[in-house]
């Protein structure tokens, strides 16, 4: 099968969905050339640097029959639009009694590893998970990126597509024929029997690398990729942990009130799953600090395959 990059897969999803549905349009501070060429500058607009207004404009246009696609670029810039995201987009459908739909796609990049310091290296999806009223995806492969993003664009709700900076150039198999990936369906990226690693985005790949190392030590690792954070596939997480009896969670964000905390709770608050657990949950996350610039410090702050291996050994030793 042909291979394309994570970034290209996102672009393909956009192009296909914009062809399919004339009510879609695209706003971002730098308009992608490929989209302008095909769809024209009426539907693909380079906007002023005004993310708050952009986001609000998306809400208004969505409520008026269109299907806006907004690219905030780095998640850093979404914070400029917090009122429109938190007070408006997340609540408007519920608050107004479900009168009209607000189908909006927000694309944004997350994560570190690029030596661009505290403001430009963030992974704040749990802040948005906390809101109620926003769905969100976090793909780890080109295949998932394309399939999920197409589903997102067709969905009738505001949805954030968190896309990993570290994976933009990552190539993977993507069929030429059209397909979609449903929201709320986790994907087992590797099957195993001794320990479940629930890993997010880039850390899915680090977890797969860690699994190879651990395999040589006789530890059979299952790698579960939730793929969407809201809705979260609780059944799949619980089923996997019931099978292996051990849970390690790997996330590039910090641990405090993070997606990792939610995943840990999903497993442990379920009586049936808890009863089958042989060891405490282990989280492998970033240190809880703003991200520093200089490479040694940045690499120290973020978790990687070595930290995952160590985390797995810890839970194996614990029981």
């Amino acid at each position: 099968m042909r291979k394309i990059s994570y970034a290209q897969a996102g672009m393909e999803a956009l192009v296909e969905e914009m062809r399919r549905d004339p009510t879609t349009f695209h706003l971002s501070t730098d308009a992608p050339d490929a989209l302008v060429k095909e769809f024209g500058s009426e539907r693909v607009r380079a906007t002023p640097i005004a993310e708050g207004a952009l986001t609000g404009i998306a809400v208004g246009a969505a409520g008026s029959g269109f299907r806006p696609i907004i690219n905030w670029s780095m998640v850093t810039f979404s914070f400029v639009a917090m009122d429109q995201i938190v007070n408006q987009a997340a609540k408007i459908h519920y608050m107004f009694g479900g009168q009209v739909k607000f189908p909006i796609t927000f694309r944004t990049s997350v994560g570190g590893g690029r030596r661009v310091a505290a403001q430009h290296s963030q992974s704040p999806y749990s802040m948005f998970m906390n809101l109620a009223g926003l769905k969100m995806i976090l793909p780890s492969t080109p295949y998932d990126m394309k399939g999920l993003l197409k589903t997102v664009i067709r969905d009738d709700n505001p949805i954030i597509s968190f896309e990993s900076n570290r994976l933009m150039g990552f190539a993977g198999e993507v069929p030429e024929d059209p397909y979609t990936v449903p929201l709320g369906k986790a994907d087992i990226k590797r099957e195993g029997t001794d320990v479940t690693i629930v890993a997010l985005a880039w850390l899915v790949h680090e977890a797969l690398a860690a699994a190879e190392v651990l395999d040589k030590e006789g530890v059979s690792v299952e790698v579960l990729d939730p793929r969407t954070l809201v809705p979260l596939d609780c059944d799949a997480i619980r089923a996997s942990v019931q099978k292996t009896g051990r849970l390690v969670i790997a996330d590039e964000a910090g641990p405090t009130a993070g997606a990792s905390a939610e995943i840990a709770a999903v497993a442990t608050e379920d009586a049936e799953t808890f009863a089958k657990m042989k060891a405490p949950v282990k989280r492998v996350c970033a240190l809880h600090v703003p991200i520093p610039y200089t490479p040694q410090l940045e690499d120290h702050v973020f978790p990687d395959r070595d930290n995952i291996v160590a985390g797995v050994r810890e839970v194996m030793d614990a029981g």
Binding site: P48, I49, G52, T76, H120, L287, P292, Y293, Q296
Partner: protein, 321 residues
Amino acid sequence: MALTQEKQLEMLRIMQTIRRFEERASDDYRTGDIYGVVHCYIGEEAVATGVCAALNRDDQIISTHRGHGHCIAKGADLKRMMAELYGRETGYCKGKGGSMHIADFSIGMLGANGIVAGGIPIVTGAGLAAQLEGKGRVAVSFFGDGASNAGPFHESINIAAAWKLPMIYVCENNLYAASTPAASTLAHSDVAARAAGYDIPGVVVDGNDVMAVYDAAQEAVARARNGEGPSLIECKTYRWRGHTERVGGADPRPQGEIRAWQERDPIERFVAGLMDQGCITQEAWQEMDEEILAEIEEAVQFAIESPFPDLEAAVEDVFAE
């Protein structure tokens, strides 16, 4: 107000220091000694230099993502700047900030910023502090044409006007925000025209003419020190290099446009004028340039010889002790 020869030569030295610093930063970024992202100020040196020449050491400024020029013009130490770019412990931010986040509070440089328009309210707060303190200090906000379209610009300038804060808002209109032309995002081609809406003075100046920038800044600073409130100065200028130093990033700007602006080199123009007035000879100019290059080489050596921070530093400074 006419400036002394010494002052003008000092301004020339600052402009050339910015130019040479940026050239070196760009080179060392390409070799991988400087990480992440670097935004160069080459072509816009007259703006920071002309404005800061009208300021005192205890006046405050805030910068943007394109911050090296503002740092140098306000009097930052080249060694600590270079060490920060090199990610060393001796850098201004202990290696935690990098190019986009250099600050030196001791000289009133409140920081470069990765958020477009993020600095404008902050420096307006410095302006409020200056007003409360009542000692005649002023504060300057540098920002781009792109930033002028963001809410914080409008919100801040309105507050400053309503409260008569001692502020100077300096728009560096280099005609582009990343790859987006200002012509496609500004409803009125002059950012300065917006001053009318806030009932404050707004002027457009040739941002490649350091003396024109200085004159406009001088007037705005005098007004601010006098308690008459803020001004908006729009400097029309141009960046010679791509938006960032990252290779592969397409530069959509027409080659002819870039060349035309390079022919209006703010440094060449200033030197030529100074030579005409007999302020500097060709030899003296060359000597000055060599001194600057030596100073930058010294800064690089300082950076290279400085250690990287210890890993424990990663968890330090999250909170003040």
